[in-house]
Amino acid sequence: MWTYLRKRILQSALPLVAVVLGVFVLARLTGDPSKLYLPLNATDQMRSDFAARNGFDKPIWEQMGDYFLGVLQFDFGESLRTGESAATMVLRAFPATLQLAGTTMIIAIVVAIVVGSWAALKPNGIADRIVSFFAMVAAAVPDFWLAILGIWIFAITLGWLPTSGTDGGVSVWVLPIATLLLRPVGVLAQIVRGSMVTVLGQPYVNVARSRGAGQMRIVTHHALRNAAAPALTVAGDLTVSMVNGAVIVESIFGWPGIGKLMIDSILQRDFAVLQAAVLLTALAIFVLNILIDLGYAALDPRVRPAAKAGRGPKAASEKQEAAAHV
């Protein structure tokens, strides 16, 4: 397990560095940020002072070197916009997105499993058609439009929910999660339904039925575990894009998350914050991918890395035993 983790960490280090380097260079190619941060009639002296203060007058290789040296000491630079430490801003924004994305995905997975399985029980039956239809609508609907519609109906017209913001207990979560939920549920329900149909048609399911297992037990105990792998892949993918920032929902509902922070720092050419945000998000995605791999292993014993390696201490002693018996 630890060998496996070590290997994955090393494998991911290089892409991580490449991503940050890429963002570093690309961001600086987009134009002179001094025009954004200095008044329009700033003099040339002011522009060169600004450049000197922020290290933009150095060649890009030097800037990169300085930045990576800083990163090794956990200094991710300062925001051009606010003057705060980039790390502080990013670490402050990330939990808000994590809460939103995490809660949404858990609900999405549960709902998709229930709805997808129900649809798969009788392929092309009424339940199946209804679910497929709504799933496709849900996957296709634009979240911007849905969010505004939700606010208009539930907040303004009916007055049941707050329009936006993060103050107010459970009710502030309803609209953002409902908006974010639709597409994952739509996509996942279809995936679950598809792989459940395949699994439920397998011979061992018939065997289980003939041995007297009830519908519930067949679905939960036998079928789901085998149908889960494709759903896990897609769920992981969807979570990644949500962790990347539910930008639209965060912007509309005033949720202080990392998606909004990233978009704002791109538009404002706030390089340090952008780099820190990308680094943190990339790290989160890397952790998520490991968790997904471990999830496969948990679901399917055949996939477990330790059994395959044949290099672990237990396997070695087994070999010795086998050799001793010869």
């Binding site: 987009t30 134009g31 002179d32 940020p33 025009k35 954004l36 200095l38 008044p39 329009l40 009639n41 700033a42 003099t43 040339d44 002296q45 002011m46 002072d49 600004f50 203060r53 916009r81 606010t82 003057g83 705060e84 801003m89 402050r92 924004a93 939990p95 808000a96 994590l98 809460q99 939103l100 995490g102 809660t103 505004i148 606010i151 208009w152 907040a155 303004i156 007055g159 707050p162 329009t163 936006s164 913001g165 993060t166 103050d167 107010g168 207990g169 459970v170 009710s171 502030v172 979560w173 912007s251 509309i252 509902f253 005033g254 949720w255 202080p256 909004k260 538009l267 050419r269 948990a298």
Partner: protein, 523 residues
């Protein structure tokens, strides 16, 4: 018969843990970094005014207060300047300074108001004023107000005694008091070598809490020197979507929402008001064919400004003849806007063509996305109208940073002739700030110039009173007749929403400084 193996047990335990964890997360139900309030976003608490802005202020540092997103919270609410410009009359009114006069060619003397304390208890006096001015203008902080108002000039400040301050300028400056109205006075304890994100001022409200990403709360300062404002607290929130800002007011979650457009759905609660912004096209007059004055005139004749205003901006925008609106010192009210005359435009283009001007050269028109409502529609209309005159013009929508590459020095010189859409707001109230940015040869936003116009501009800056007014009027007239560096389009209006609970009269400065002490409970 179920066999409960250790593996099954482990699996069930781990699934139960996962389930409990997710319920715990849901149940904790408070968003990271925010504290759920007992009242839950209810603007109904009589003593709290809730204002929703377009974005979170990047900082509340007082020396950056000329930045709209900072000033809207800070100016005249948390901090105050020595002198305040009345946005309606244009007059300078005493605030922390009760009196002022020019006591030398380059020297002004100000009398400080007595019995004023900062929100941290320290006394306000000439030394504190000197410290604030020195810090903002002469220091190395890179304060925005320094660049915006004072350029490279430094001021010599001296606190002669507790209530007397002298300010000496490098050259005679008749509008120094107006310039000083941009410097917010902060406590003498404010460090001069670092920015203060949450300043201490003399204003009616002190900063109570800044929940990053979520809200800013101000508490009324009970020791404020002037009449106490009505609300005990002010809470600022921000939403980037105009429809959501309007929705917060219509649903009662907020009292004031700024930066709205008519489509945002504020309905009867929306109030339109002129905001000092003027839109125009600015020409790169050194690149053919825009170096031919006939082409620049043709573009002015080709734009049907009346139709643009009546169809895109019917809520109060006015056709513009010059870069500044009424109410700014130097506004020339006898200058007529360029009339819409397509035939004349075509004739001028033909004439220029016959003389060898390359009228088929593609002119680029950069327009900033989301700069103001319906900006892309405006871009399309302009492109269409200018093409009808026989010119080859391309519309390019760009984001803020790209737009700024075209807008300020060093300009973009390798993309051919450029006629870009600019939006200029004269916050200061004096034409000097506009003409010295856009018309003076070599200025930050002037692509070309005219030596005679430069002389007129420089002479006007030295005058005061009626002479100053007349001199700047002449500047605009001359520019219109002989230079045509711009094609003015319209003076703009903007909208805010006010809940039924409050009364407030917006004015042209509202977007730059929302003076909470001017907001009161309705009825």
């Amino acid at each position: 018969m179920k066999i409960s193996s250790p593996q099954h047990r482990a699996k069930r335990i781990s699934m139960s843990i996962a389930a409990v964890a997710s319920f715990a997360m849901l149940a904790s139900c408070s968003v990271a970094n925010s504290e759920p309030e007992a009242g839950g976003g209810d603007a109904g608490t009589d003593d709290t005014l809730t204002v929703v802005l377009t974005q979170e202020p990047p900082t509340l540092e007082a020396c950056d207060a000329n930045l709209t997103s900072t000033g809207v919270v800070v100016r005249s609410t948390v901090t105050e300047p020595l002198i305040e410009r009345n946005p309606t009359t244009g007059d300078l009114e005493p605030l922390l300074a009760t009196d002022w006069e020019q006591t030398g060619d380059t020297e002004w003397t100000f009398t400080m108001r007595e019995d004023v304390t900062f929100q941290d208890g320290t006394p306000f006096d000439a030394a504190a004023a000197a410290h604030s001015i020195d810090r903002a203008v002469n220091g190395d902080l890179g304060c925005d107000v320094e660049g915006y108002i004072f350029g490279d000039d430094d001021l010599e400040v001296e606190a002669v005694d507790e209530t007397t301050l002298t300010v000496t300028t490098p050259a005679p400056d008749p509008i120094l008091p107006l310039k000083l109205s941009f410097i917010e006075i902060v406590s003498a304890d404010t460090p001069a070598d670092e920015m203060a994100r949450e300043p201490v001022g003399t204003g009616p409200y002190a900063i109570a809490e800044w929940q990053a990403g979520t809200s800013i709360t101000l508490d009324r300062d009970e020791d404020y020197w002037d009449a106490a404002p009505e609300f005990a607290h002010v809470e600022y929130q921000w939403r980037s979507e105009g429809t959501v800002r309007a929705a917060m007011v219509t649903s009662g979650e907020a009292d004031i929402a700024l930066g709205l457009s008519p489509e945002d759905g504020a309905g009867d609660l929306g109030v339109s008001y002129p905001n000092n912004e003027t839109i125009a096209l600015r020409f790169s007059g050194q690149t053919a064919p825009l170096d031919d004055i006939r082409i620049r005139q043709a573009i002015n004749y080709a734009i049907d400004k009346d139709t643009i205003v009546s169809s895109l901006y019917p809520d109060g925008d006015k056709v513009a003849a010059e870069l500044i609106p009424e109410g700014i010192v130097g506004y020339n009210d006898s200058l007529e806007p360029w009339p819409y005359d397509l035939d004349k435009a075509k004739a001028l283009v033909e004439e220029a063509k016959a003389d060898g001007t390359p009228v088929d050269e593609k002119i680029l028109m950069p327009v900033r996305t989301a700069q103001f409502p319906k900006v892309s529609e405006l871009g399309e209309v302009l492109r269409e109208q200018i093409s009808q005159a026989g010119l080859n013009i391309e519309l390019r929508m760009v984001d803020t940073t790209q737009h700024l590459q075209y807008q300020t020095k060093p300009f973009v010189t390798d993309e051919g002739p450029i006629a870009m859409l600019i939006q200029h707001g004269n916050q200061a109230g004096d034409a000097q700030f506009s003409v010295e940015q856009y018309m003076l040869t070599g200025a930050a936003q002037a692509e070309f110039g005219d030596p005679e116009l430069d002389e007129l501009i420089k002479a006007a800056a030295k005058l005061t009173g009626d002479e100053r007014q007349a001199a700047y009027e002449e500047v605009f007239q001359y520019e219109h007749d002989n230079v045509v560096a711009l094609a003015p389009i319209a003076h703009q209006t903007v909208m805010l929403a006010l809940s039924d609970r409050v009364t407030y009269e917006p004015n042209s400065s509202t977007g730059d400084e929302l003076r909470i002490k001017e907001v009161s409970l309705a009825g």
